[in-house]
């Protein structure tokens, strides 16, 4: 079964994350620069959380992997993205119905190998 891992993290240690996840068996991923807020309400460390909301720059990483490696991938992302402070981000795991590689029209697991 394929799962999509979508995570929103602080824009740090990206090169390390890329290499570590590749070693875990992640054969491809996409990165986007996004803006967002969560429990932090857009305030950086030291700022007080209040009702006013601000967007802060975040990094969104997306990858599709085999279910068996999901837990290990999550562990690695958490280890590298944990800042110990509010605003470290979140990881979402989403079921993937199917994947199609356009060039070869391969389906499912074959597309991520």
């Amino acid at each position: 079964m394929l799962r999509k891992i979508e995570c929103f993290i602080q824009p740090t240690e990206l090169d390390k994350i890329k290499d570590v996840l590749f070693e875990e068996g992640v054969e491809g991923m996409s990165l986007s620069e996004v803006q967002g807020f969560g429990q932090q309400r857009g305030y950086t460390n030291g700022g007080k959380i209040n009702k006013q909301v601000e967007f802060l720059p975040k990094i969104k990483l997306e990858m599709v992997v085999e279910e068996e490696i999901v837990d290990n991938v999550i562990k690695k992302i958490v280890n590298l993205a944990k800042t110990g402070k509010i605003g470290s981000g979140k990881i979402f795991v989403i079921p993937v119905e199917d994947v199609i590689r356009i060039r070869t029209e391969e389906l499912g697991e074959n597309t991520i190998l």
């Binding site: 079964m1 279910e67 068996e68 999901v70 837990d71």
Partner: protein, 415 residues
């Protein structure tokens, strides 16, 4: 340890619950009475050629919400009263977590460590044979408990299947994976317990980093829990087993310890921790105290010394009713047994479902579904405890008993 009173203690817990619920005396009487109690003589030809007889039991406490479900215990101190009490606890556990099961328990009064492999197999097969009219996937489904394991479940499944003439994997849970066992069953109780602990940390606003844990017991539940806690980043500062207790404030690595135990049989003499008096174990200051041994461990005598923020009951009935108010006064947050250790029966339920439909789930699927049920049960209990100003145990008991009573009322009394 006064083990004989575990039945009285379970009845007392039920009586305490009745003061919260508005139930008619007839229903209370009915809930106290096990539906079926069977005692069998388990005859075994021993390796020395002589014949020995062991007392075996199976109790089905209640089947209003579904077939009876509960473990089989091999322990020299097994008594009928204990099995009756544990069967009743299973009814509440299945009801609280919403599983479509009633409660049962079985046991044989035998010290399995004194039997050879062949004697153990013969004892299991003879005991199973005696229970054939009683058990079955739609009637009563045994599982492992203290002193029993996946291998023994495989023998039970085989014996039952031979008698029926076809394979019946759904007659028992906790089987080896190769015979239709579920992924994640071995560590299910501990994983489930961690779910409830994490929810408790959240509501108590305790920072979930650098947590310290003390574990009583290093068997299936305690040993697995130690590994699950360790992987979670909790620091295990003390562990006990039947041989004694060890402590290391810098943390004990349960993987190393279990390698040591696989060679030396007990934790005694483990060099990377200091041996302590087992009676000191419960006095150690920690965030989480996790009893994972037998019943009646936390009593009015040692409860005043407990210095933990959370008491997570991995074992069944580890706390006596007299200890409850002491823990409450000292601000110890109790995650009661029927909630905390229900992960085992929840994944047993998943295994039964998978066996019956001849399909299998991935480990991740099992763990996610387990977490879902555990969290739902935890918050249902917690919210009820707030709404009715009850402690967690009373809230859990009241919810569980009420569901069984409702099922009974809806079904009515035959004829």
């Amino acid at each position: 340890m006064a083990k004989d009173n575990v039945w009285d203690m379970t009845l007392k817990r039920l009586d305490d619950t009745m003061t919260i619920l508005d139930l008619k005396p007839g229903i209370i009487k009915y809930l106290k009475e096990p539906r079926k109690v069977v005692e069998v003589a388990v005859v075994v030809k021993m390796d020395n050629g002589d014949i020995d007889i062991f007392k075996g039991y199976r109790v089905q406490h209640n089947t209003n919400r579904g077939p009876a479900k509960g473990g089989i215990r091999y322990h020299q101190d097994v008594t009928l009263d204990e099995i009756k009490a544990l069967a009743m606890l299973m009814t509440w556990k299945c009801s609280l977590t919403g599983l479509p099961f009633g409660g049962a328990k079985g046991g044989v009064a035998v010290d399995p460590t004194l039997l050879s492999e062949r004697e153990l197999e013969n004892l299991t097969r003879r005991y199973t044979y005696e229970l054939i009219p009683l058990i079955g996937p739609e009637k009563d489904i045994p599982a492992p408990d203290v002193g029993t394991n996946a291998k023994i479940m495989a023998w039970i499944m085989d014996t039952y299947s031979i008698a029926k003439g076809y394979i019946v994997p759904g007659v028992v849970t906790g089987k080896p994976i190769e015979l239709g066992g579920s992924q994640g069953r071995e560590e299910a109780t501990s994983r489930g317990a961690v779910c409830t602990i994490q929810a408790a940390l959240k509501i108590l606003k305790i920072n979930p980093s650098n947590l310290t844990v003390v574990i009583q017991g290093f068997g299936n539940v305690g040993g697995n829990a130690a590994k699950v806690f360790f992987d979670q980043g909790f620091k295990i500062i003390a562990i006990s087993d039947i041989s004694g207790a060890i402590r290391n404030d810098k943390g004990i690595d349960p993987y190393k310890l279990s390698e040591y135990v696989s060679v030396n049989k007990t934790i005694a003499g483990y060099s990377e921790a200091e041996a302590i008096d087992p009676s000191e174990l419960f006095k150690i200051k920690c965030d989480i105290l996790f009893p994972a041994a037998l019943e009646n461990q936390i009593t009015k005598d040692n409860a005043p010394y407990i210095n933990a923020k959370i008491l997570a009951e991995g074992a069944n009935a580890p706390t006596t009713p007299e200890a409850d108010p002491i823990l409450k006064d000292n601000g110890v947050f109790v995650i009661p047994d029927i909630l905390c250790n229900s992960g085992g029966v929840i994944v047993s339920y998943f295994e039964w479902v998978q066996s019956n439909i001849a399909y299998f789930w991935s480990k991740r699927e099992v763990n996610l579904q387990l977490r879902d049920i555990m969290e739902k049960a935890f918050y249902e209990t917690y919210n009820f405890s707030l709404a009715r100003n009850l402690d967690m145990r009373k809230a859990a008991m009241a919810l569980a008993v009420n569901k069984v009573a409702n099922a009974m009322k809806l079904r009515g009394v035959y004829p």
